[in-house]
């Protein structure tokens, strides 16, 4: 029974116009049927001979039911492309197999096999996604990843150890979780607030391109001067004062770059790094260029003492334009200190060591106490030349300690 | 009629004084036909979908003055609670549905109410009525609704107040048939024409049509010819209405004509009519004063929902 109309589901056979054995042509009307809408004819699809009639007059058949069979030649099948009984049976078997499969899986709904045939040659066009996923080393952090990292208080630096298995080597939430599980097996202790504060400051500072240059300085004059003072200024204080005076002459080396502007110091407030338990604090001495060494002693001692007792206020540690650090107190001779995130310079000094120093005058090596000065600077604001100038100035000022 | 005229005069002056939010639409000139329709209907049994110029009909059908003043003056106590305004007000639970701005839409709605009554077995003796203007007869909704009412043989009375202008559009640009009442034949229903300025004529024709509908005569269409005596809304001065229309027969003020008819026919004396006017003016004033004192809707107290159902929906 053909599909005789959009909403037609069945039709009643009114009259059979052929009998078994009749020869028929293609498009010949052989059965008259009645639908809800009208009386219509069922026509043949090809030439052939009527071999069987299954339809009965007066009975209603649904669309798709087999009404009869024609005997046709193979050429006719090829010419017209009609379905033969064999090909129909093959289709039915496939259908039955699919239906059976549906029932076995006990799906909530069963999918019928005889759905429309999709044309496989139609290639769907789907818009691509904006980020090129094939880029190697892609470090895109998705909102989900970022939210998870925030939950755990992690920064990008923290996950640098994680191997990424996502697109382009990206670290996924699953990678992170695997890594954290792996770390569970290692001994660990919670980080103290001081540790976290230092970590955060160093992380932020490190986002700039920092470079370090070094210059040895002979300390004998300073040491001699110091022996004669009461109270005795700390060695670091001599360095502080020399640094401040040198900066006063070259203030642009302490400039701070923000966007396209360089902010210059308005007051030479210099910080001093004080090692405390599990961390470092940096109290700031004010207007170091305007006060003499002896005038600074009280302020310096007070700040260092309060720093060690963890009694510094926010104000005490803010507003500096540069920092001085004496890692010589730990016995270290060289180092590459890192400036505070809001500063661009840090001047470090290592331990003084007795060294043979060449003297042009006597053309011999003479013993002297020498220490390495290391200046780390933000290379966006200062270059090697500027840094060198500054360091040389400091070294020169330290040879005349009474002028400090 | 009188009450409607007095009320609407008041509304007009309130509008001009800036006391009303939104538009004001008056039925000046339409009181005779509208009032006749409202008076022929029985509240509690019949249903009536008024349109924008049916103040007289509403009052005759039983709507309170307060409903009108409250809605216009933005009181939260009004039937629409400020969510809709002016002539969109209605009380569907009392058989007077609230119109929407799309003209013609109420025709199938009244048909539906009558259809439901039939299914419930309560249609016997009931009538449903709605009022449209000449402009609304051009809408698809009017056509579909009236045709459907005719096919379903519902007792519906449609009053077409042909006031000769749909906003600024004259009849010549609205329809091509000589008389709107001829359309009734096209729908297979009864059609009547009446002089909309003549109260006694209107009352007679409307009464007859309503009776026919009640007795199973199917839909009835009444075309009342009159002139709109105000602008389309109070924001409009109606300057496009030609002066000869105002001077013609249909340009007569039906309230004046009716007053004359009352006196001539011995139904009331001039004094009585004056007394009615005073009495109604006082009523109107009282309704206006009360509405003016009431609170406006509070946006912070609204529940801001358009659905009555809570989801997920668990049927009881």
């Amino acid at each position: 029974m053909p599909q005789l109309g959009e909403s037609i589901a069945e039709a009643t056979v009114i009259r059979l116009d052929v009998a078994v054995g009749d020869e028929v042509r293609a498009d010949q009307e052989i059965i008259e049927v009645e639908t809800n809408k009208a009386v219509m004819g069922v026509t043949t699809l090809c030439n052939g001979k009527v071999s069987e009639i299954r339809a009965v007059e007066g009975v209603s058949y649904s669309v798709g039911s087999l009404l009869g069979l024609l005997e046709v030649t193979e050429e006719e099948v090829a010419r017209t492309g009609v379905d033969t009984l064999e090909s129909l049976e093959a289709k039915n078997q496939n259908q039955a197999a699919e239906e059976k499969k549906g029932e076995e899986e006990n799906l909530h709904f069963a999918l019928d096999g005889d759905s429309y045939e999709e044309d496989p040659s139609i290639i769907p066009s789907v818009k691509g996604l904006p980020v090129p996923t094939g880029v190697m080393g892609a470090h895109y952090i998705s909102p989900r990843m970022r939210a998870r990292m925030n939950d755990m208080g992690l920064r990008e630096a923290d996950i640098s150890a994680v191997v990424g298995t996502g697109a382009g080597g990206r670290v996924t939430v699953e990678d992170l979780e695997r890594f954290l599980d792996y770390l569970e097996a290692w001994p660990s202790a919670p980080a103290s607030p001081m540790r976290l504060a230092v970590a955060d400051a160093m992380r932020r500072s490190w986002t700039r391109p920092l470079a370090t240059v070094g210059l040895p300085v002979i300390l004998d004059r300073v040491l001699a001067h110091r022996r004669e003072q009461t109270p005795k200024p700390g060695l670091t204080l001599y360095l502080l004062r020399a640094f401040a005076l040198a900066l006063k002459e070259q203030p642009m080396t302490a400039g701070y770059l923000i966007g396209e502007r360089v902010v210059h110091p308005r007051s030479f407030d210099i910080g001093v790094a004080v090692q405390v338990e599990d961390g470092v604090v940096v109290p700031t001495l004010r207007k170091v260029d305007q006060k003499s060494l002896s005038e600074l002693i009280a302020e310096y001692d007070d700040l260092v003492d309060r720093a060690r007792r963890r009694r510094l206020t926010e104000e005490d540690s803010s507003g500096g334009i540069a920092t001085v650090t004496n890692f010589g107190t730990f016995g270290l001779t060289t180092g590459t200190p890192i400036p505070l995130p809001n500063e661009t310079l840090i001047l470090g000094i290592g331990a003084g060591k007795k060294k043979p120093v060449w003297s042009e005058q006597v053309e011999a090596f003479l013993p002297a106490t020498e220490a390495e000065m290391m200046l780390t600077f933000d290379h966006r604001v200062v270059d090697g030349g500027g840094a060198g100038l500054l360091l040389n100035l400091v070294a020169k000022l330290l040879q005349e300690p009474e002028g400090l | 009629m009188l009450k409607a005229r007095i009320l609407e005069n008041k509304l007009s002056s309130l509008y001009k004084a800036g006391k009303i939010v939104g538009g004001v639409y008056l039925g000046k000139g339409q009181e005779a036909i509208s009032g006749s329709l409202g008076a022929a209907l029985v509240q509690g049994k019949d249903c009536f979908a008024p349109l924008i110029r049916d103040q007289a009909g509403r009052t005759a059908f039983g709507e309170s003055l307060l409903d009108c003043t409250r809605t216009y003056l933005g009181s939260v106590e009004g039937p629409m609670k400020g969510r809709d305004g002016n002539i969109h007000r209605g009380r569907p639970e009392m058989g007077m549905p609230a119109m929407i701005s799309h003209l013609g839409a109420q025709v199938p709605l009244i048909a539906g109410m009558l259809f439901a009554k039939r299914l419930k077995g309560t249609l016997e003796g009931c009538v449903g009525a709605t009022s449209v203007g000449d402009g609304a007869t051009s809408t698809g909704a009017f056509h579909e609704g009236l045709n459907l009412a005719a096919v379903e043989k519902l007792p519906m009375v449609v009053v077409v107040a042909n006031n000769q202008f749909a906003y600024s559009t004259p009849n010549t640009r609205q329809f091509a048939c000589a008389d709107l009442a001829e359309r009734a034949k096209g729908y297979g229903i009864a059609g009547f024409s009446v002089d909309g300025t003549d109260l006694l004529e209107c009352a007679k024709v409307v009464r007859k049509a309503v009776k026919r509908a009640r007795e199973g005569g199917g839909p009835q269409m009444i075309v009342a010819n009159l002139l709109r005596l105000s602008g389309h809304g109070e924001h409009d001065d109606g300057s496009y209405v030609p002066s000869n229309a105002k001077a013609g027969h249909y340009g007569r003020d039906c309230v004046e004509v009716a007053t004359q008819q009352m006196v001539d026919g011995g139904y009331a004396t001039v004094d009585e009519i004056l007394a009615w006017q005073e009495e109604m003016a006082a009523e109107v004033q009282k309704a206006v004063a009360q509405a003016q004192q009431e609170a406006a809707p509070d946006p912070y107290k609204e529940d801001w929902t358009a659905l009555s159902t809570k989801f997920p929906f668990i049927p009881s």
């Binding site: 709904f109 999918l111 996604l129 998705s142 909102p143 | 039937p79 199938p108 539906g112 439901a116 159902t309």
Partner: protein
């Protein structure tokens, strides 16, 4: 023994007519003819004076329904095709949808919209109008995808007091079969996980649920487990279930058969982005039909709407982000 989707619709109406005197059916060719798709076959005979043939007046049909609802009835209006409901647009969105808000009286009408495309049905017999109606406050829009939902949601739609647009899918009418009508019942307003997964979520409704499941089956061969969420009702939208799914998978594809501008898929994506931004591993994607009227020729039609192939393609792109 199997029940088709259209059988379920017919049986639901039968149950409603039997159990609730307030229900009546109004539509073109639905009485003795039984409806263009036979959704009301036999009902006019079984329930005399409850099933009516009406003139071709979609506007008046809905106007009548609203009026009848005011008088306490619960009409079911059959639009012959969803596409023709545009003639009734005014009555649906301005008369029915605003009535409760304006007057406090809800309008319990149910409008059945045979929606969606079938091969050869063309531009005016294939539309999916959920997005347009969902835009208007005061309407409920449901889109059953299973035989059980077709049955239960029609009954619930008539039971609830607000106007419901019941968008039944024409393709599913005879194609979708189930062993019985009584699958698991979910109330209107809750979405269902049609297929659990963990790599990506496809949120969709109606016939596209089946296409999504087929696509998911294909991707399973490559080791991907795709979760498919059947919204069941477009409005109200069950955002909680959608967000819970995206929380599990991190990737979202909103899939629909309707036109691409705005509509249901846009609503899903914007809501998930608003409230579930932190759940996403990749930008949320949409897949809809093309921005043209629905073509008539089956070959064109097959390339106009999403197919399991195009769904797989979209998912692969999403998964590799």
């Amino acid at each position: 023994m199997s029940v088709t989707y259209i059988d379920a619709i017919r049986e639901a109406q039968e149950k409603l007519l039997r159990e609730d005197d307030r229900v009546f059916l109004y539509g073109q060719d639905i009485a003795s003819f039984g409806g263009a798709f036979k959704a009301t076959k036999g009902l006019a005979d079984a329930f005399p004076n409850r099933v009516f043939d009406c003139p071709i007046s979609e506007d008046a049909m809905i106007g009548l329904a609203v009026g009848a609802a005011i008088e306490g009835m619960r009409p079911i209006i059959e639009m012959q095709f969803a596409d023709f409901s545009s003639v009734a647009f005014n009555q649906i969105v301005n008369q029915a949808a605003t009535h409760f808000y304006r007057t406090g009286m809800p309008i319990p009408i149910t409008v059945r919209l045979p929606s969606g495309g079938t091969p050869g049905s063309g531009p005016f017999h294939s539309q999916s109008m959920e997005g347009i109606y969902a835009q208007y406050p005061g309407l409920v829009v449901v889109t059953p995808a299973t035989v059980s939902d077709a049955y239960h949601m029609l009954i619930d739609s008539v039971k609830l007091d607000d106007p419901v647009l019941y968008c039944e899918h024409k393709f599913l009418y005879r194609w979708l079969k189930s062993k019985s009508i009584n699958g698991d019942y979910l109330p209107i307003g809750q979405a269902r996980i049609a297929r659990p997964g963990k790599h990506a979520t496809v949120v969709t409704y109606s016939a596209m649920v089946h296409e999504a499941v087929r696509a998911a089956d294909r991707l399973q061969a490559d080791g991907w487990e795709i979760e498919v969420v059947d919204l069941r009702s477009v409005k109200p939208l069950d955002l909680d279930t959608v967000l819970a799914s995206v929380a599990r998978t991190g990737r979202l594809l909103a899939l629909g058969e309707a036109f691409p501008w705005g509509g249901v898929t846009s609503e899903i994506v914007s809501r998930v982005t608003e409230e579930g931004f932190h759940l996403l591993d990749a930008p949320p994607q949409r897949l809809n039909a093309r921005d043209t009227p629905v073509p008539y020729h089956p070959k064109l039609w097959a390339a106009h709407r999403p197919t399991p192939e195009s769904i797989c393609e979209a998912l692969r792109k999403l998964l590799s982000f």
